[in-house]
Subunit: 449 residues, 2 copies
Amino acid sequence: MKQADVVVIGGSAAGIPAAITARRHYPEKSVLLIRKEKQVLIPCGIPYIFGTVGTPEKNLIPDGVLQNNGIELVVDEATDLLPAEKQVVLASGESVAYDKLILATGSSPVELPIPGFSKKNVYTIKKDVQYLQSLLEALKDVKNLVILGCGFIGIEFADECKKNRDLNVTIVETLDQCLQIVFGGGACKCCQEIEDYLKQKGIDIATGSKIVEILGDEAIKAVKLSNGEEIPADALIVGVGVTPNVDLAAKAGLALTKGGIVVDTTMRTSDPNIFACGDCATKFSFFTGKSSTLKLASIATTEARIAGANLYEISRKNPGVLGVFSTALGDLTVAIAGMSEKGAQQCGFDVVTAEAEAINRHPAGMPGASKMWVKLIFNKVNGELLGGAVRGGPSAGELINTISACIQNRMRADDLAVFQIGTHPAVTASPIAYQLVNVAEMALKNMKN
Amino acid sequence: MKQADVVVIGGSAAGIPAAITARRHYPEKSVLLIRKEKQVLIPCGIPYIFGTVGTPEKNLIPDGVLQNNGIELVVDEATDLLPAEKQVVLASGESVAYDKLILATGSSPVELPIPGFSKKNVYTIKKDVQYLQSLLEALKDVKNLVILGCGFIGIEFADECKKNRDLNVTIVETLDQCLQIVFGGGACKCCQEIEDYLKQKGIDIATGSKIVEILGDEAIKAVKLSNGEEIPADALIVGVGVTPNVDLAAKAGLALTKGGIVVDTTMRTSDPNIFACGDCATKFSFFTGKSSTLKLASIATTEARIAGANLYEISRKNPGVLGVFSTALGDLTVAIAGMSEKGAQQCGFDVVTAEAEAINRHPAGMPGASKMWVKLIFNKVNGELLGGAVRGGPSAGELINTISACIQNRMRADDLAVFQIGTHPAVTASPIAYQLVNVAEMALKNMKN
């Protein structure tokens, strides 16, 4: 029987940093990682396989990251977990004994109860090289592609599948707008500009629509919407919702909820020797302390760094998920950290917002100049920053992390207004026009009104 | 006699935001801004006039920013200040009465005591459209250009002047490396890569050298270095050092030091009705509380927002200057926030550092992929972040502001290691490889050693 001090089950955005963190914090402990996949996909890179990147093989997390950190890799499926014996049973029949265990088993796409869901050419987004390869192959013969879900995955798949292919793409979405859940929709310019981009690329968007039936014989031929309309479809890609992988935890009798494996703020499960992190573990909101359904690779890595550090000595606490999202379609990057205006209102916060747009260079004639828009959402009661959204060029992807840092430190509008930023003609807005600081000043004024 | 509730003297990176902030915080007060320049240059954009941007006229701060905020503009020179009468005397003979006054009079380049400094074609970097226009004209006939000073201004001028011109450029610098004062030099890869870039562009760098004499008749012909070497020079651009403009404050009898007009942490001078901000005001370090010589447009705007808000009711305190710098030469952006490793050591801090490089996209095949390097400097005693440096693509300009937010909130390495970031294939490193968080983890490990 194999054995290691620390065993991690799962080799993606939670498992890898959990194992690395364990090695960093407990260099004298042996760390072994078990995963069932021969090759591990970069989860957020999956949509880009279908356009920009080209193949699943070009979207892999290299195993070198494990070797370089002295982590033993076992490619096998964990089929049972015996917490009393502190053993993991593998599909090959072998067992692995552990002292501390980290479950990073991730999530799987939900199978929707739509009639016809099992027809050929109906795809979910499985993190599986062969499966995605088969989708890539199937797309060669597709003339009409329907994508269900207008979240990040949906819009990225739509844009990528349309690239270099002569096919019709239609996105079907229950809600009224693209990215509505995250950005809050309504007057949100991010939702609007994403929709404008997609339409300009010739992608049809059917918002406010449900797929009630998948039509066809063996293979899909069309989807039927709730309004009776039928949209021809040679393939359907379903980009809505995932469910935590908890089979192993269930077999071991660990406490579970609908949100996943129950963990405390140290990422420990109901068994003191077993930790869980990433999509398989329960989450709660940084803002409200209430349970959260947010699942992101970046959240998984943060939780993994908490779990890995806490194995033998509790030193880190999970403050709850903030939610920091970004995506880019063409030259347009949109990003959000924390709560949207609508989301904060729905949670009962009395909010004050402000927004500003400025050129991301100075003077405006500098190369790379484009508009960068920032919106901030503050708690009117105590002035604390609850969220921020950014729309602009690629550096929006880092600017949103500045906003995230401000939220995590519970900075108030008054703190942000005198936040010391660095600026440069070739890479940012001018110090006078710098959006983040100006918007905080504008929000302060709005708070007084 | 003109009069306004709030009068601001100076119309650049301090004066404009000071006036806007006064308007925002005291909308019932009238605000009047006095400046002597017909047109105001974007200070950080000045080097780009000589290459990328092309003319001073394309590097101006538009007056619309004043009009849009209901600020009255008077273009005239303030020649005297009578604090007892609360009046500013103008060169035109007119006077302006004020209730509260903000001095944002900026700084001027130092005239160096080098023999021959007054010769024709010896230029300092004056923020003056006509003067810079004359330099632009002069460059047409220059074959050999010498630039004194290898700080940000010096390297930017060198790179820009070399663009589209057939001339030899030599930078002369007393210290051993480019950008040494800010980045600390030594093994700092930022200094090294900037030097490599400049050399690759055919620019000569004479570090460890002083100009002891400027040779020529009426006009400069050459510069003589301390080692006896003579470098032919048809023009010399001096990019070293500025001195605060305090004439007006001196006439008014305000307290002064070598560092400028003495201000307290509310930006108030020795006269309770007069505030000062920007290059003309004294500064102190965020880290040590000791006086600081840092002068940056971004610092000026922050101080202006403190001064403007505090005019009638003290609500903001200056925590001291942090120093956030960035610059870009070609595709290479380097940036630093807070202290360099060497700077922190010189201040007596026991420091722990770590650094990491990762691709700024994931997978590495995504468009725009390039290496992004991050170094962090922590206080070993309490784990607090003292500084960070970044080298990479344009988004380094925003990433450095994330680091600045972390410093200002006195985050420790352990906080940073579980900092919730957002990542996306098209705009950042992967969540597993994200430099800022990884470097914090590595520093934690180094702290234990």
